[in-house]
């Protein structure tokens, strides 16, 4: 138990900053919340009209845009909530939600 709790990423009490303080600004980026994703948005560049609604509504800033144009998703932080797909205008329909296991190179289910 002890050896498991103490590892390179998790220092012991003597090495931790006191008071639960976190001294490294912006280190939340190290936490890849994309791990939580069960459904993955898949973007169709052909259908996309670059209205940026998905970019605007994404609660995690995981829709990537450059120069006013969508360029894809940041799957490190996309939690798969599906808001982007919901907000994409029905006539456009450029974002589809697919099961994460289907997106894997070697799908788990048959």
């Amino acid at each position: 138990m002890t050896s498991k709790a103490k590892s390179k990423e998790r220092p012991g009490w003597k090495d931790l900053p006191s008071g639960g303080f976190i001294l490294e600004p912006g280190n939340a980026t190290k936490y890849l919340t994309g791990d939580w994703r069960l459904m993955r948005p898949v973007w169709d560049a052909e259908r996309c009209i670059d209205c940026l609604l998905c970019w605007l509504f994404c609660p995690d800033g995981a829709v990537l845009a450059e120069g006013g144009k969508i360029i894809g998703f940041d799957y490190d932080y996309c939690k798969g909530c599906g808001i982007c797909a919901k907000e994409c205008p029905p006539k456009v329909d450029a974002i589809k939600m697919i099961r994460e296991d289907e997106a894997l190179e070697e799908p788990l289910s048959a």
Binding site: A5, R10, P11, G12, W13, L16, P17, S18, G19, G20, F21, I22, L23, P25
Partner: protein, 400 residues
């Protein structure tokens, strides 16, 4: 040593006034408070100092004690010295924030004027308020009289902010008995106090724009335990720091402080352990009974958190019988909080002294020298080898 002691003014003041004067001399950056008897005077006097321009403190009047402690936590986390004062139910209302202050390692200093907890509602002295907060991770220092209340508040600043400690400190004085009683005390010059406490330069604080940090982040089973272990380390280190600060304070004031006072314990075969104002009454009885040839002594714990278990056991080595006087009831049915700590501390002594608990003074019930004499007589009658007392817990002065 006497030559170096600073010039001091002898004054007559109530306990609350003495604490307020100490706060004026410390001049914390923020005082946030909500009034409650018998602690109200402290912040009332202090608000006068603010209004008169004698201090530059930001004085925050809050809508409750919960908010007062929260404001102090915010101020301290931001990087400044913060102080407050409360009593009884006011302290109870601060409950959850007390743990936040200690968990965040914020060096707040708070005066608690000891008063019974409701219900039944009662404004008089007992220790049920601060004893209820004994496990909140604060350092606890108890004062016998107005002089000690003044001295302890000043020393608390240095103890709290010490880098090896970084814990909030609670300084107690007995409600009405000391808070509203006028006694002589010596107060230091303002400049000497300022020099003693030094400038406050926290290593880490929220408003340090060059080194942004996160405070109050979620800390689950992967880190919480380590942070609690760190807190214990702060309390372990506090023992030495409290003594160092006391040494420095003695050089300025000429008054000596320790973790506890051992009075006439050298050859004592019986001892009473009691905190705060009642120690004065017990000391008077020790002197009187010593004149009659009884080998008795007094131990007055000053620091209850951290509990100086080993030091106390050492001074009780060879004592035949010891009585603890608890001014609060832990409701464990196995004795008050001071008793259970003390009895545990002397468990390893050989031979083991007889230990008895006396719960007294609840809700301000007065205690007289005759009561104390009675306790000593029972202790002196103990036979060698007796370790268990019957009854283990006595309710002194309660009507049957």
């Amino acid at each position: 040593m006497a030559v170096a002691v600073a010039l001091q003014k002898k004054v007559a003041m109530t306990g609350n006034e003495a604490v307020a004067q100490a706060m004026r001399q410390i001049e914390p950056d923020v005082v946030a408070a909500y009034p409650i008897t018998p602690a109200t005077d402290i912040v009332q006097y202090f608000s006068n100092f603010v209004a008169n321009g004698q201090v530059k403190t930001e004085f925050v009047t809050t809508e409750s004690e919960h908010s007062a402690m929260s404001a102090c936590v915010g101020a301290s986390a931001a990087g400044v010295r913060a102080m407050t004062a409360t009593a009884s139910n006011g302290l109870a209302l601060m409950w959850e924030v007390l743990y936040i202050a200690s968990g965040m390692r914020l060096p707040l200093v708070m005066t608690v004027v000891n008063r019974a907890l409701s219900s039944p509602i009662n404004i008089h002295c007992d220790h049920s308020d601060s004893m209820g907060a004994r496990d909140a991770g604060w350092i606890q220092i108890y004062s016998e009289n107005t002089q000690e209340a003044y001295d302890n508040v000043i020393q608390a600043i240095r103890i709290a902010q010490h880098p090896k400690v970084l814990l909030p400190v609670m300084v107690m004085l007995d409600g009405f008995i000391i808070s509203h009683a006028m006694e002589n005390l010596e107060i230091l010059e303002d400049g000497d106090v300022k020099e003693f406490i030094g400038e406050y330069r926290p290593e880490r604080y929220l408003l340090d724009a060059d080194h942004p940090i996160t405070i109050g982040a979620l800390d689950l089973n992967d880190y919480y335990f380590e942070h609690k272990r760190q807190q214990v380390e702060g309390l372990l280190q506090a023992r030495k720091v409290i003594l160092e600060v006391a040494g420095d304070y003695q050089r300025v004031s000429g008054r000596s402080y320790g973790l506890f006072e051992a009075y006439r314990m050298e050859d004592a075969e019986a001892a009473i352990v009691v905190m705060s104002s009642t120690a004065g009454t017990v000391r008077t009885v020790v002197d009187a009974m010593r004149k009659e040839g009884h080998r008795i002594g007094l131990i007055k714990p000053r620091v209850f958190r951290p509990f100086p278990a080993r030091d106390l056991a050492e001074v009780l080595r060879g004592v035949k019988a010891v009585a603890v006087m608890d001014r609060s009831e832990s409701m464990s049915t196995a004795g008050g909080p001071l008793f259970t700590e003390l009895r545990s501390a002397i468990y390893e002594l050989e031979p083991r002294p007889l230990a008895a608990d006396y719960i007294f003074g609840l809700g301000g019930r007065d205690i007289y020298p005759e009561d104390v004499c009675g306790i000593f007589q029972r202790l002196l009658a103990a036979k060698p080898g007796d370790i268990c007392s019957d009854p283990m817990v006595t309710y002194l002065g309660v009507r049957e």
